[in-house]
Structures are given as C-alpha cells and as structure tokens.
C-alpha cells in the first residue's frame, strides 16, 4: 500500500512535469505577447513592452523560463503573477477554485443522485414506461449540448419565469461586508441551482445509463441468486448485494471523469458567468495572460492527479479484491 502510494506519487510528479512543460511549449508556439497585457493592452507602447519583457524574462529561451517557473512552483509553491491584473495567481486560483469546486462537487452529487435513482429504477423495471422515459432523458442528456441546455435553462427559468438568478456566484460563507453582494449558504445554493442542473445533466445521463447496465448485470450474478436463496428480501438484496458491486465500476469512472468534468465546468461557468477556474482560463486565453492559463492548468492537473490517487485508494478500500502493491 505504502509502496504503491510512493510509486503513484512519483508517476504523478512525472506526469505533472510533462503536462506543465507541454503547456509552456504550446503557449510559446502562439504569437503571444504577455507583456502587452501589462502595458495597457491595445495601446501598449514599445518602451513599456521592452521593460516588461525583460522584467519577466520573456526573452529568455523557453527551457530557462520553464526552469524558473518550475523552481518557483516547487520551492515557493508560487505560481507567479497575472500579466493582466497583477494579482498573485495563487490568490486568483484560491478565489476561483471554491467556485469551480462548488460547481463540480455539487454537480457531482446531483448527477450521482440522479444517475443512481434513474439507473437503479430503470434497471429494476426494464422496459417499463419509467425505464423508457428515463432512457429518452438519458439520450437527450447525452446528445444536447451543455451550453445549449444552459442557455435554455437560463432563458426559461431565469429570464422568462424569473425563478432563479441567471448568473453570478454567491459566496457560501457570506459576501464581503456591506458589499451588497449576495452571500450565505442559501444564496449560494440559490445561485448554483441552474449551473448544477446544467452541469449535471450530461453526466447524470451517462451515469444513469452505466448504473442501469451495471445493476442489470449484477442482478444476474450468481451471488445475488445466492442472497435470494438465503431468503433475503428484495430490498436487502438490492442494497447490500447488488448496489455495492454495481457501483464499484462507477467509482473508477468518477476518477476518470473528474478531468472531463473540470473541462465541462468551463462551459457552465461561461454560460452562467461563474468566476471559477474555467472562466479564469477563458479570460486568460483571451487576454494572453499566460501566467493565469498556466496556473489553471497546473492547478487542474494537480487536482486531477490527486483526485485519481484518492479514487484509487478508495477503490482498493471498498473492493477487497484489489491489492495495492
């Protein structure tokens, strides 16, 4: 177990280096001039550009720049400063991450609940009306574009019906004092409902489908028959024998999907203007703020690697057959 962890961490470090380096290279392949952002954007003047370029060492060879970046990251856990706003990236990410986390984890809970309910119910009653309706939902969920779903929701529930806010984030722990911004758990929840739904639909559909298939397969397993032969009532069969086994692959999937989900959050954050990582990324990309882009990539990579590690360990914990060696 311990050795396994060590090896996994080493591998994660290697992956991390590769990914950050590739990000670096890709950014330098583009005709970007990060200095410009610092010099007032469109009307940047030569003197300023030169100054900033030298200041950030943007004229140095790429590996030197990478090494500088890497050193700073490892030894100071410092991602540097935004070229556009001058804000420390650590701080920027510290602000954006909770938003994305709210979205992703809240969404994940929602999609797991939906996926479980729909998946299990339709597996228990295959070909019933409910099952068929659920599968139509699943197909639409898989096929409709999240952006579109978002826009439609926004239009319907926000603009037309005025049930929910149509954008923005409310801080869970309360808004800044006398800022007049919405804040607090209830506002947080209220602001996140539409984003969660939008974000969760695709995955809810995918998971409902997968859970349905898993449950159906597990229902056919011999050990389920054994449980029934023991005289266990259906509820018990379902909860203590079927579900746990059927959900094992779901855990693995969760690990693999977190990366995809982080990506998907970009769309939701864009549609609902949530100040999360995805929006930081898009703003960074649009304003050539490489430092921010790199920061988001680094953070996302770490988050994904970490999450996967957790999932692996979790998996070994809930599935006694797996030995981490």
């Amino acid at each position: 177990m311990f050795r396994y962890l060590i090896r996994r961490i080493l591998w994660a470090v290697l992956l991390f280096i590769v990914i950050t380096f590739v990000t670096f290279v890709i950014f330098f392949m583009g005709p970007n001039d990060p200095a410009r952002a610092q010099c007032g954007g469109d009307q940047a003047q030569p003197a300023c550009l030169k100054l900033v370029t030298e200041h950030y060492g943007l004229d140095k060879p790429i590996y030197v720049q990478y090494w500088r970046f890497f050193k700073r990251l490892v030894f100071q856990q410092n991602l540097g400063h935004s070229y556009a706003t001058g804000q420390s990236i650590n701080q920027a990410i510290g602000k954006a991450a909770p938003v994305t986390a709210s979205l992703v984890f809240g969404g994940a809970i929602l999609w797991m609940i939906m996926g479980l309910l729909i998946g299990v119910y339709s597996a228990l009653k295959p070909r019933s009306l409910l099952d068929r309706t659920a599968m139509v939902f699943v197909l639409i969920g898989i096929s409709a574009h999240p952006v579109w779903i978002g826009l439609i929701f926004e239009y319907l529930f926000g603009v037309k019906l005025k049930w929910t806010p149509i954008a923005n984030y409310a801080n869970f722990f309360g808004a800044p004092k006398d800022s007049g911004l919405p804040g607090g758990p209830w506002q947080w929840f209220y602001h996140m409902i539409l984003p969660w739904c939008t974000f969760a639909i695709l995955f809810a559909a995918l998971y409902a489908r997968m859970i349905r298939a898993n449950v159906m397969e597990t229902l056919n397993e011999d050990f389920v028959r054994t449980a029934r032969a023991k005289g266990a009532p259906e509820r018990r069969v379902l909860f203590s024998h079927v579900l746990r086994n059927a959900l094992l692959p779901v855990v693995t999937m969760l690990g693999m999907d977190i990366g995809v989900a982080l990506g998907g959050a970009i769309f939701t954050e864009t549609v609902y203007q949530l100040p999360g990582l995805g929006r930081s990324l898009i703003i960074g990309v649009q304003s050539n703020d490489f430092a921010t882009v790199q920061g988001v990539v680094v953070f996302a990579t770490i988050a994904i690697l970490l999450f996967n590690l957790i999932v692996d360990v979790l998996y070994a914990w809930i599935d006694p057959r797996i030995r981490l060696t």
Binding site: L15, P31, L139, H145, V147, W148, L151, E217, F267, T301
Partner: protein
C-alpha cells in the same frame, strides 16, 4: 468463456439456431437440409434491420450528409446568395441592430434580386441563418468525421500494436496513453486552439473550410487514448483466444494473424465506437466554437450558438435552431451507435 459465446449462439436469432439444429440433424443423420449459410455481416444486418430507431437514425444521418454536402450548394443556388454573404442593410438587419425574423425578403446588393431569408438573419451582418445552418452541418460533420478518423487511426494503430506485441512496445505505448489521459483535456484543447489555432487555420488542403483541420489535429492529438485503450484491451483478449493460438500453431505469420484473425474482430468495436465518437466531437466542436476558439468566420453550429446570447430576449429562435441541429445530429449518432452495438453484440440488447 465457452458459456458466453454459447449464449450468443442461442440468441443469434431463429436463423442461427435453426441452422444449427438443421445442420445437426443433417450431418449426423444423413439428411441434408438446404439452409443457406448466413454470413457474419448478414446476421448483423438482419439484427440491425429490426431496430427501427437505429434505421431511422441512420437515415437521418444520410439525409444530413446529403443536405450538408449536396443540399447546401443547391440551397445556395436556389436562394441566390451564399452563407457568408452579407446583408448589411434593413430589413436584414433592422434599425435597432436586430437580425431579421424568419421569412424576410431582402435585396441582394450584388445581384439586385429579391431574396428571402428563410429562417431570418443569423447576426448583425444579416447572414442567412438557414444557409449557415446547413453549411454548418458540413463543418460539423467534417470536423467530427475527420477527427474520429484521426483518433481512430492513431488509437487503433497504437492500441492494436501495444496489445498484439506486448512487451516493451506495450509498456511505452501504455505510458504514453496514460500521459495523454492525464491531460486536462478540454482545458488543454482550449489553450491550444487559442494559441496555435490561428497558425493552423491557414491549412485547408484546398477543400476544407478554414479551421476545420486545426480542430481535427487538436482533437486527434488528444483524443486517441480512448480508442487506443479499447483496442489494446480488445486485441489483448483476442490474442489470448484459442483461435489465434490455433493460427500460430499452424505456423501463420504475424501479418496473416493480424489480417485474418485480429482485425476482423476490431471492425465491430471500431464502427460502434466511431459512431459514438462522432457524436461527441459534434458537441465538442460546437462547444469550442461557442467559446470562440473553434471555427471562425465560416458557418458552424457553435458560432451560431454563440451569437444566440447576443439576441437573447429579442430573437430567441437564433438560439433554438443551432441547438436543435446539434441535438438531433448527436442524438442520431448516439442512437445509431447503440443500434450498431446491439446488432454486433446481441448480449447487450438482452439487457
């Protein structure tokens, strides 16, 4: 193992079992009943044919392809202007800067003729929403189709190689797969499309609209790991099948084994997976174009979708059309994929 395969036989349909029984009675008891042997593909076709939804989806896709590649030029000819043509003046764009509503008659500046905007104008340039929708279909299909092709070629080659040869080849390819997998995909694709995109946009090979190949390259580079994993697993399991051993036992060369015993078994998963992949790339293209890092200038569903919010409350239909187009296309590919999977692997349909 035997059991699983056996179940297939049972459910291959009346034809298969009937033939088996007939064959048996014929073989062992002398009489030969003339039942035509059905090929693998024929059986699949028979199963597929029963699936009305999948057939419908297939028909829809064919129709879509026809519309996109043949219908679009015809439509263009018929309405007298192109998808990129501008109608900068009223009534295509009214004084308040709003695009025209469906069925608006406009005058074509170049020809002086009266044209009609069937679904209205798409934006403040007064471009024809209808034409852009059907030309957008072409781009969507091209991006999705070519990316799928790219992804499948890389994925199948690498995956099959890793699975078949194993050893260090497998180790290297598997590590590569894991590295690719660990990339935060969308985040990366967005940065990539924004940075190297503009340079790649120039490459069109003369036939593709600008930006199509950019997306294809980016999608292929980062999407191959999934089919590679599937194919590797497939080949690994096929490789262990006794019929492959049997072929090796009789001295067949690697090429021969791959050609006649491995590849034919990959066709089904490749087809099924490709269909589903096409669907996901239609979505991805629309998403990237929506974010402004995909296709520019040329009509694309994502572009159309992204101008939706500009006219949120005033022209909500502009949001509906491209959304529906994406939904229907993706749905059709997904349904077709499901249908194909059921046809290829009847066990799935028994669920």
């Amino acid at each position: 193992m035997a059991r699983r395969e056996q179940e297939i036989v049972v459910s291959t349909g009346a034809g298969g079992l009937g033939a088996a029984v007939a064959a048996e009675t014929g073989g062992a008891l002398g009489e030969v009943e003339a039942i035509r042997a059905r090929g693998y593909w024929e059986l699949i076709w028979r199963r597929f044919r029963r699936d009305k939804v999948a057939i419908g989806s297939g028909a829809f896709i064919i129709l879509l392809i026809l519309i996109a590649f043949a219908g679009a030029p015809i439509a263009k000819h018929y309405v007298g202007h192109g998808p990129n043509d501008l109608f900068l003046t009223a009534p295509a764009v009214n004084l308040a800067g709003l695009p025209a509503n469906p069925w608006t008659h406009v005058t074509n500046e170049a020809t002086g003729k009266k044209n009609v905007l069937v679904l209205g104008a798409a934006n403040r340039l007064g471009q024809d929403e209808f034409l852009r929708l059907i030309y957008g279909a072409r781009i969507s299909l091209e991006v999705a189709g070519l990316s799928t092709l790219g992804v499948m070629i890389i994925g199948v080659l690498l995956g099959a190689t890793a699975g078949y040869f194993r050893g260090w080849v497998d180790t290297i390819i598997s590590r590569l797969t894991e590295v690719t997998m660990a990339f935060p995909l969308l985040i990366f694709v967005i940065s990539l499309a924004a940075t190297v995109g503009p340079q790649l946009d120039k490459i069109t090979l003369g036939i593709f609209p600008k930006g199509v190949l950019t997306l294809v390259v980016i999608f292929s580079l980062f999407g191959w790991f999934y089919p590679a994993r599937i194919m590797r697993a497939q080949v690994l399991s096929i490789r262990e099948k006794e019929y492959v051993e049997a072929a090796r036992m009789i001295g067949a060369s690697n090429t021969r084994i791959i050609r006649s015993h491995v590849l034919p078994h990959l066709v089904a998963p490749i087809i099924v997976y490709s269909t589903l992949t096409v669907a996901s790339y239609v979505l991805l293209e629309a998403g990237l174009s929506f974010l402004g890092v995909g296709i520019k200038f040329e009509p694309s569903w994502g572009n159309l979708l992204s101008s939706g919010p500009d006219f949120y409350t005033t022209r909500p239909l502009l949001m509906v059309w491209p959304g529906l187009a994406v939904l229907l296309t993706t749905l059709a590919f997904n349904l077709l994929g499901d249908g194909l999977r059921d046809a290829f692997d009847p066990r799935a349909s028994n669920m």
